[in-house]
Symmetry: D2
């Protein structure tokens, strides 16, 4: 293998730049030529590909976003689109790919590999942490700390006014961000897609809790089965029927995707990126480079996409106990 290319795809996440940097520098260190593909599969189809050098990735490890940009590509879902992409890579002599992204990215990579056979290793870049085959995804820790910082700020004002706040965090299918910043933020309740939310219990607690507590914060993952934060607040407000209680909603939104990555995300991104290149050189393909139990591991794309990563039961216990 002489030439490899790296790209980011799907939703961006903090730490992707650290990962790109590691791919580029490990590749060069191992004697490879490394190329960067702009805007994911879209750029692959358009041939938006450039040679990368060691200095191309100087001073980016601390930047949020992705220097290679990202996009969602409709055309790559068609055989014609993928053929164009393959032709562009072939023309440059690219013999290996590193795909940084989440579920959708790996699904595309799997199909592409199975059709055209260019060896491909993935790196788990998404804030949601919902990818099997790695304990944490690149960007998760930063997103959690951003959400936590917001919760700390909201608690200041919630406490000043004895208010009940609903904070909606990202997580369409998974509650990892919600659980983590809920524990860390001292939330009274956390509502996640993975567990059935018992509204009666929440209402009962909120009525009772208010005597000793100066404020209450309820963290809601956007994908909770009962609805989003606004909707859930509506239900609870109606059941509590107490005009003296003030309810407020804050939806954190896209601030969770940006920002300077934390140490953990930079190190994890670096490690997965190095692992991806070394994996390609060792003959790995159609799999993801992740970190489990502090060791680099490779998991087939099929498992990463197909298996569900469960919330840890200890975390659910902590929430129940610590909000008393």
């Amino acid at each position: 293998m002489k030439k490899i290319a790296v790209f980011t795809s799907g939703g961006d996440s903090p730490g992707m730049n650290a990962c790109i940097r590691a791919v580029v520098r490990t590749g060069i260190y191992r004697g490879l030529e490394v190329y960067g593909i702009n805007r994911g599969y879209e750029g692959m189809i358009e041939g938006d590909i450039k040679r990368m050098h060691s200095h191309s990735v100087s001073n980016i490890i601390q930047r949020g976003g992705t220097m290679l940009k990202s996009a969602r590509s409709m055309e790559f879902r068609t055989p014609e689109g993928r053929k164009k992409a393959y032709d562009n890579l072939s023309a440059l002599g690219i013999e290996g790919l590193v795909a940084i992204g989440g579920d959708g990215t790996f699904t595309g990579a799997k199909v592409f590999y199975e059709e055209f056979g260019i060896p491909t290793v993935g790196c788990p870049g998404t804030i949601d942490n919902d990818i099997y085959g790695t304990d944490f995804t690149i960007g998760f820790d930063t997103a959690v700390n951003t959400a936590l910082d917001a919760i700390d700020k909201i608690r200041d004002t919630a406490a000043a006014h004895d208010r009940i706040f609903f904070v909606e965090v990202m997580g369409r299918d998974a509650g990892f961000i919600a659980i983590e910043c809920g524990i860390g933020g001292g939330a009274e309740f956390v509502m996640v897609p993975e567990t059935k939310t018992d509204l009666g219990k929440v209402v009962k607690s909120l009525k009772g809790l208010r005597k000793s507590k100066s404020s209450s914060i309820i963290v809601v993952a956007e994908g909770d089965e009962l609805g989003n934060a606004e909707e859930i607040m509506g239900m609870i407000k109606q059941k509590i029927k107490d005009p003296t209680k003030e309810f407020k909603v804050t939806t954190l939104g896209h601030i969770q995707r940006g920002g300077t990555p934390t140490a953990q995300d930079r190190v994890l991104g670096s490690r997965c990126g190095m692992g991806a290149v070394d994996g390609l050189l060792a003959g790995k393909t159609n799999c993801m480079s992740g970190v489990m139990n502090n060791e680099l591991v490779y998991t087939p794309f099929a498992e990463c996409i197909g298996k569900t990563k469960p919330l840890h039961p200890d975390h659910l216990s902590l929430l129940d106990i610590l909000s008393i």
Copy 2:
């Protein structure tokens, strides 16, 4: 004057604790007994008042929110409510008041002073900066920096995807936060209540700009005359009619009210608090202690409430020029 009391009222803002601390310590330094009233006018009516010492305000200068809590009081708007409040203060021998808050707080303080004659000096505690008689209000700088940090994060992800983001910041009647974080965040446009928003110009620019710009951020004050960010985005989307452009809205909400105060807010809060006590001792009343042109000044409540503080024309020019 032997005994004074301090309270916070209305929306809380970062730096209120620094102000309380300065009132308490300046009072003690000048030989006074100082009392703290919890939850603003509500606590005044309920007699929720406690003696404060130098150590009562230790280690609070860096905290967001207000250690005396805040509330909006309906009862204080009635003569009976105010009579109860007066009786409670009289019973304790309180001879002077420091009222930390905004427009509503000062309106209440003015009425109360005119009815019962307890000397009262205010301190401008609100994130909105919309109070005449002080160049900046306590909490404004922190709110702007919080909003700016959010915009920086959003730009990371906006740039990764070539998106157009609408960021809604606080400011029901005033655009100070929007203008300041718009300039600081390199926003393409800022929409504020004080100026008429020219939607046609924005649409035209957005269509043109996109060739050289990788992303666009539009900051909207919640009180813009065209509507909130969601509504304005709807109008623009409809006029641009380009399905390849992605539009997103983020409403920053209550995170702007909390958080560790900046240096400026701590120093300003300290200075206004000291000024309020020294003002009371010098016979001032029915006025606010603010800082204009870096000097402590006292402005009658009537002016603080009645006069409008305009946006600086230089700031409006900066926005036009720097977004090219």
Copy 3:
């Protein structure tokens, strides 16, 4: 077991408050009375012990430092001191202890348990991460992120001036902080106590690197075998002998011990705290409650103190490869 007490000892670390909160609330949740001992073993000897309730630990999870304060006790190293401590605990009927701290804390706890038999479980509270029996210690992640933030700031000014910066971080016997923030900060070199520093290689690289690099950052753990950052800079300066190169040293010092804890430290502190109480109730003693491979585990104090936790070889490789 009906009554337990918790204390913090040795150097404080961010997340200790989250741990105290978890001990108090888990204890109460399980039906125990919980006491807090001020200033570690010193307060135990002086009988500075107070009952703690659920609200005693409200609103502390986000605070740095330790609400129970810490101290280093000479008297506890004497049999007489320990006897006094035991008598105070006995008088209150304390039947179990949770000791939050590092090596020194556990050494004291082990001796105390072996002499007086009060069941004791420890929690790993130290920024250094040098305790066997847990993947991370409480406070490590915050310290690393604080150091990383400082390195990011220094890189801004280093890059503006083409300078070589030596940044000294904490770590008398262990290089965990240095390695982690070195990888995350994109450092050119990291010098740690665990590995022999090859000065010749550094000098050679610094001479060579400067053509393509705009600045160089070298992270030095305070306990590196060659000396501290100031001393190492002196050696290198002398060998490079190039008056056009500017060398600077920054010693981060105690800022690494303070600050709002990160999500990871709050969650880890909470989990270890819960684990310590549940451990006591399950009959554990003379051991530490830690988290390895994302599972709660108990490790005898003897091992925590006696065994060395090694740096991960992957991290050392990353440093070599990514600084090219």
Copy 4:
């Protein structure tokens, strides 16, 4: 005037990039060609000058440091050096200069203008705030907030251990940073070059204070007439002679120069930059564009360099009163 050039010189400061951006975009907006000179006077001599476009300054407003780099030039102090610089500018047809920096930068600019007559307007870029002709310098607010954040962290650990901390901040000739972060950080004492430090009073207070205070923080400007923090701590330690008291020093160093600029520094940098270009176009020269009492003003270089900006007496009072 058709062509202007901008450069940064001397110590870098956060907000310089915002200023460069404003110069470039205002220049282009007004129909000029704008050039950037790398590494200050050094690059002027070497002819390291490049054309700048609107997109050249995209996405830099939030970055610390200076994209044009800075340097201190010995050669520019010689007539030959300045002649070379002039020849390079002439060759490109540069008719106006914007010099961003501090005292040294303006001294050089003044001499250069007087010798060669190229109109020059300065912008006050330095963290020290010690330039006459502007209420604040670009970078001061960020430096203060960085120092304040460090003090907050140190207070966490100081409070946990009842320690006395000496924190040294930048300020060789001026105490602005020290005063501002001393008030904001709730310091017990602040020692600055402008006032005589009364060591006896400090010692007396420290002995007395310790009963009610859990910790003490003393902020020292590096240029205090008694010495640096380490030296002053030595003197105090010797006078207090109390082995139970722990004294610690932290020297914040270069972290104060870097980091993401605050809103104030970005807005101030933008405003001064716009003012510099508009000043050149209006025929101003040999002067600095600053902001006093919230209005843009131009002050002759001779005054900026020659006059001293005093500390505000209110700030000195605040320190005395609020540390009780």
